[in-house]
């Protein structure tokens, strides 16, 4: 392949045109808009235009009490709502020095990892739709429904959970949940193998993803890209290990990385993370202690003045909440550092010179959730 970027601009001849991809476009995963300057099918410049689903989460943080903001956290990245719950709840707990019972911590980890699986399944299926494979979606959603049944039983919701509370979790699990989760883990492993056989090893898929959109570790660092993106570039950065929280330090799991940095690497990291999440769930179920699920929490929350950060490894990468308190019962400032925002900021640089389908393959591999970008 000759590099298109070199031959694109001939003196005096401007054959580029602007392709406005989105905000309604099948590959936009919602309402992302990308202003693409194209030369034929080659992308000269792809400039994401965001804000089409800006929902004022940060402003709302300053308008509601500490507890009232909690439901918002389930709607920022709706696919990994529990991780976002976790970060916010834990940041407030950090500010107020609230102790969380161990059973609650384990439940948080178990449900978070289940949420990660369901999130990755949605990513996987949506990504394959991007690549023109329509059937995996149905299989992934089949599995996801089983997971959602379990999560719904304890959290009361299918998607936008508000399960975690300051000092623990809202609801204790019952025997049926534990049994069902074990069964799910048992049944999901063969499914993963099937996914690998039928989809991951497909020659068309491999050809479409290998060497597409390579991202270096250095680029990830400079742009602050985290999650499967940085792990697909060979850096084993995972907040669960870098800034250990909850009971993750006690659990035995690996951080899957791939050195290649291309879309296939990110794909494989996602798939490997599914297996690791299963491992974590199993260990969590094995070690789940008895006890209360909600600690002692003051009636009115007034964290002492100061700022408090808490970062978690959400399904898309590092999610950090930075709370600024002035000692009142309403947050002074809630900053949400969302992974998709940083991950997408890479796109303009890395997509230069690719052809359109490859650029979209790259975009899909970044695992974007648009409200997570726009907040």
């Amino acid at each position: 392949m000759t590099s298109p970027a070199d031959s694109a601009v001939r003196p005096g001849v401007n054959e580029t045109f602007v392709l406005n991809l989105g905000p309604q476009h099948p590959a936009a995963h919602g309402v992302l808009r990308v202003k693409m300057t194209m030369d034929g099918e080659y992308v000269m410049r792809a400039e994401p235009v965001i804000g089409y689903i800006h929902r004022m989460h940060e402003k709302m943080g300053e308008n509601r009490t500490w507890a009232q903001f909690l439901p918002n956290t389930g709607r920022i990245d709706y696919l990994s709502a529990l991780h976002y719950n976790h970060a916010y709840v834990a940041a407030v707990e950090r500010a107020l020095k609230i102790e969380v019972p161990r059973r609650a911590e384990f439940l948080r980890v178990i449900t978070s990892e289940m949420n990660r699986i369901s999130s990755h399944l949605v990513w996987w299926s949506a990504y394959l739709i991007d690549l023109g494979g329509l059937t995996p979606l149905l299989y992934a959603f089949d599995d996801r429904e089983k997971l959602l049944d379990l999560l719904e039983a304890v959290t009361g919701s299918r998607l936008t959970y508000t399960y975690f509370r300051f000092g623990g979790v809202y609801n204790d699990v019952d025997e049926a949940f534990l049994r069902g989760t074990r069964q799910f883990v048992r049944e999901f492993r063969p499914r993963l193998k099937m996914y690998r056989d039928l989809v991951t090893d497909n020659i068309i898929l491999r050809k479409r993803l290998e060497n597409i959109g390579p991202i270096s570790a250095e680029q990830c660092r400079k742009y602050g890209a985290t999650g499967p993106v940085i792990r697909g570039s060979g850096v084993a950065y995972d907040v669960r290990r870098a800034e250990p929280y909850s009971v993750y330090p006690e659990l035995d799991f690996e951080i899957p990385t791939r050195p290649e940095g291309d879309s296939m690497a990110r794909y494989l990291v996602h798939m490997a993370e599914l297996e690791q999440s299963l491992r974590i769930i199993e260990q969590g179920l094995d070690r789940l202690p008895d006890g209360p699920v909600l600690g002692k929490v003051p009636r009115v929350l007034r964290p002492p003045a100061g700022d408090y950060c808490f970062a978690v490894e959400a399904a898309r990468g590092r999610f950090m909440v930075r709370l600024v308190s002035d000692g009142k019962d309403i947050p002074y400032r809630v900053k949400l550092r969302t992974p998709s925002f940083s991950n997408l900021s890479l796109f303009e640089e890395t997509s230069r010179g690719m052809i359109l389908p490859d650029a979209l393959a790259l975009m899909g591999s970044l695992d974007l959730v648009i409200p997570d970008i726009d907040r």
Binding site: M1, F17, L19, H25, P26, A27, G40, E41, L128, I129, D130, L131, G132, G133, L134, T135, L138, Y139, D142, N202, I204, L205, K207, R208, I355, L356, P357, D358, L360
Partner: protein, 333 residues
């Protein structure tokens, strides 16, 4: 009934029959595709409209017919309206020479193969027109893709056809079928003693057919996740419906041709009870495979698609051509 044997009336009747066949066939192939996709995807598929969903295509067509007609402002009005007509015509023309059975041919001509391939390539022109006249960037990109894709795949397809032409020695489709009488080992697909690469030729033909009809995994023209609806983005109602119909007509045509050229047409695989049913069975088996492929594989890359044609399929089909001509000259002379 004398009137029916008169040539112009007979042809007219045959064409009307073909039109009906193509229309109904497309309607129900869409249903089959949706039901089949449901089957592949562990869900029922359309089953509420009528018994088991059998009225679903009727509902779809009635809805499409009653949809508002629109020629978007700024388009090339004439071409925009012309494109859906042009896209269906060549498939109809080609089906006119396809021998559904010994006698069931709209027009039995002795240059059928030539006619099919020459009219078959008009199809791409129509998609190009629709893309060009739509005044939509996605449509133009799609049109450009379709042209390069069809040009690329026309060549190996024609090379395969020439190979067959040399082996059979005739362009008469009915004659080609007749040569394959007497059991499935006589089919061109299995005539490895004439050319050991015949199965390979068939595979090449099938791949080219997928590409020529713009079906997954080569559905660059209507690559939904990239180009919205490709060249048909601006078409609505029955204009869009006709493109859909043409797509299925082309699949049927491609499968029919594959049946005629490789699978013995209306010949029975066991040498007895030949007839139109065998033809339909073989053809629909191929159509089913096409649907099956679509719901199984992701889309290829565009340059991967072109590379496949220019770097793999064309050399192989050239080689089979050489091989069969050499074998004809040396062994079977």
């Amino acid at each position: 009934m004398n009137i029916l044997t008169h040539e112009p009336y007979r042809l007219l009747l045959a064409l009307v029959a073909l039109l009906a066949f193509v229309g109904v066939n497309a309607m129900y192939l869409v249903l089959a595709e949706r039901k089949g996709a449901g089957r592949f995807q562990r869900r029922p598929g359309p089953n509420e409209a009528g018994y088991g969903g059998w009225l679903q295509p009727v509902a779809d067509v009635a809805k499409l017919l009653s949809k508002q007609l629109l020629v978007p402002p700024g388009t090339d009005t004439i071409l925009f309206r012309l494109a859906p007509l042009i896209v269906l015509a060549p498939a109809m023309m080609c089906l006119a020479v396809v021998p559904f059975s010994d006698t069931l041919t709209a027009r039995d001509v002795n240059f059928g193969l030539l006619m099919v391939f020459s009219f078959g390539s008009i199809n791409v022109l129509a998609i190009m027109l629709s893309g060009w006249s739509s005044r939509n960037k996605y449509a133009i990109i799609s049109a450009a893709r379709v042209v390069s894709q069809n040009v690329a795949y026309e060549i190996p397809m024609l090379l395969v056809a020439i190979t067959l032409l040399m082996i059979t020695g005739t362009m008469d489709l009915n004659e080609i079928v007749r040569q394959q009488a007497g059991g499935f080992w006589h089919w061109n697909l299995f005539r490895v003693w004439v050319n050991p690469l015949m199965p390979v030729t068939f595979v090449i033909y099938f791949i080219c057919m997928l590409a020529e009809t713009n079906r997954a995994p080569f559905d660059m023209a209507e690559a939904e996740s990239e180009l919205v609806a490709g060249a048909f983005t601006e078409y609505a109602g029955m204009g869009f419906g006709v493109f859909f119909m043409a797509e299925y007509a082309n699949i049927v045509l491609g499968s029919s041709l594959a049946t005629v050229l490789f699978l013995g047409g209306w010949q029975s695989p066991f040498g007895v009870f030949s007839g139109v049913l065998w033809f339909l069975l073989k053809m629909y088996a191929l159509v089913f495979t096409v649907i099956w492929v679509r719901w199984t594989f992701p889309r290829t890359q565009f340059y991967g698609l072109l590379n496949l044609s220019w770097k793999i399929l064309i050399p192989i089909s050239l080689f089979t051509l050489l091989l069969s001509s050499a074998l004809l000259k040396l062994v079977h002379a």
